[in-house]
């Protein structure tokens, strides 16, 4: 999995590419821990170039999103493509995450506290 990390206006942006699964998610633990220590923690995860997501990676995104929201921030997703989107739809987590079509929209949309 390829990752590119940028920070824009106090928002940590994670661009992922390739597979995001149980094997790759271990490498992301440290990044998520550090990114969620910001106050308030604001994260955008760009999934546009992700070709596969499994339930373990999904759980990692949920865990980070919950942590962000508990501390007044949020974890937003953008660029979720088909067929990768199916995992969010089947679990109905597409209703729990704030999902944006692209990174620019995810960054520009005002950040307000979100309840779990």
């Amino acid at each position: 999995m390829q990752t590119v990390i940028t920070t824009t206006c106090d928002v940590a942006v994670l661009h992922l590419a390739g597979r995001f699964d149980a094997h790759e998610v271990a490498d992301m633990d440290t990044w998520f821990r550090e990114a969620t220590t910001r106050k308030p923690p604001r994260i955008v995860v760009d999934l546009q170039r992700v070709t596969f997501i499994d339930s373990t990676a999904l759980g990692k995104l949920v865990q980070a999103m919950k942590h962000c929201r508990q501390h007044g921030g949020d974890l937003r997703l953008c660029g979720v493509q088909q067929p990768v989107r199916i995992i969010f739809e089947l679990t109905r987590l597409d209703r729990a995450f704030a999902i944006f079509p692209d990174e620019a929209t995810a960054l520009e949309t005002p950040w307000e506290p979100v309840s779990l």
Binding site: R19, A22, D54, S55, V62, Q63, P83, I86, I87, T91
Partner: protein, 142 residues
């Protein structure tokens, strides 16, 4: 969708998360050859379901044991067009009926693997047996 000859693929892979990436090219190649008209989303869903079953074996049956193995047989048949996948492991067994699946809409950090297997496939059978556990997964392709 037109299917070519019936086909069976056998593979054995180390039970580690790292090796589960091998499932995608193997199943994709098999489906492209034997069922060239198969929808991309259907193919992805099959791969995701098999991946989740194998990840379950890695995490729960072998519980991180480094020498575990997963034996897989994929059988494509015509009339009806369907893919049957058998997985065999020699790790710990579990009672499928005792597993509580997440309610769709609840925001959980884990426990979605088995839920996805059921949601993505048409038949899911788990047979704990002496000497090993067997999953039989079926997806109808037409």
């Amino acid at each position: 969708m037109s299917m070519n000859d019936e086909m069976t693929l056998h593979m054995r892979l180390p039970a580690s998360f790292e090796h589960l990436a091998m499932l995608e090219p193997c199943i994709t190649t098999m489906l492209r050859q034997a069922a060239p008209g198969i929808d991309t989303t259907l193919r992805y869903n099959i791969i995701l379901a098999v991946h989740e079953a194998c990840a379950n074996i890695v995490e729960h049956a072998y519980q991180g044991q480094p020498d575990g193995q997963i034996a897989m047989a994929c059988m494509l048949t015509d009339a009806p067009a369907r893919l049957e996948i058998e997985l065999h492991d020699t790790g710990q067994s579990f009672d499928l009926d005792q597993v509580t699946l997440p309610e769709p809409g609840t925001v959980q950090e884990g426990g979605y693997g088995l839920f996805l297997i059921y949601a993505l496939l048409d038949e899911v059978h788990y047979l704990p047996q002496p000497g090993g556990n067997r999953w039989r997964l079926v997806k109808y392709l037409a």
